[in-house]
Amino acid sequence: MKKSFLFISCEEAKHICDKNQYGEATGWERVKLALRLSWCNITRGYSKNNSKLTDAIHKSEIDCLKEDEKEKILESFKEELIKHQ
């Protein structure tokens, strides 16, 4: 099937919506997404939930350990664990 330059599938719209949450969707992709959002309820629902999740993540100021930081904790813990067992 020939790919339309303006009309996109629901899957593609979701993909653009995901990228948009990270500010990585291009201007043209955002136009295509906006067009899809204007008539597709499924995309609109997905976009709403996606934005809600992004807002919650920003609001929570959530943090986590970097992989190397976790490794360091794991190393020192393993040493103690061996002594313990």
Binding site: H15, N49, N50, K59, E61, I62, C64, L65, I73, L81
Partner: protein, 184 residues
């Protein structure tokens, strides 16, 4: 009823992010938060014999962490009297007569309740992340929480950009569902 059991081999993978998020929202110092989390796991190991199995493993570790955080504040508060406050006052004539209060951050911007709610929200998100498959959780954390760029993650995990977006899509869908059930 004592039906919970301890499995220290899984502690770091299962609880380190949750405990770290819990700590950093309370001590606001990354290095100190890492130390406190590490100490919590070691203290947990030493006091395993005290575990009665009435609470979950994570609840038990959080209770140890809480005591560690209290000890940390006790320690820094005991040094409070010795602390020396240094502040540069404006000496130019234009700002003469300005009160010290002007230098204090606006306390109405963010309340203690906001901080507590945000911390609980963060914990709820971590709880949902912990239910994701390992790779999804890792990619999501690197992309969303640590803010790594796509290329860095792809190189580190040896995946393509389209793979990354598929993983992100699955993770976000599962997280949105989980948060809908538990929080929103």
């Amino acid at each position: 009823m004592a039906n919970h059991q301890l499995n220290p081999n899984n502690w770091i993978n299962s609880y380190s992010d949750y405990l770290f998020n819990y700590t950093i929202s309370r001590v606001n110092d990354r290095e100190m938060a890492k130390d406190l989390v590490s100490e919590t796991f070691l203290a947990g190991l030493k006091s395993m014999s005290n575990f009665k199995g009435e609470a979950s493993e994570r609840t038990w570790l959080v209770s140890i962490l809480k005591r560690k955080i209290i000890d940390y504040y006790r320690k820094i508060n005991s040094n409070k009297g010795k602390a020396e406050v240094r502040m540069n006052y404006n000496t130019d004539s234009e700002s003469e007569g300005d009160w010290l209060e002007e230098r204090v951050a606006d306390p109405f911007d963010k309340t203690a309740e906001d901080n507590l709610e945000n911390s609980e929200l963060g914990n709820a998100i971590h709880e949902c992340i912990s239910k994701l498959p390992k790779k999804q959780a890792e990619v999501f954390k690197q992309k969303t929480i640590l803010g790594y760029d796509t290329e860095t993650i792809c190189n580190e995990l040896n995946i393509t950009a389209s793979n990354l977006w598929v993983i992100i899509h699955r993770a976000r869908t599962a997280l949105a569902e989980c948060m809908e059930e538990n929080w929103f």
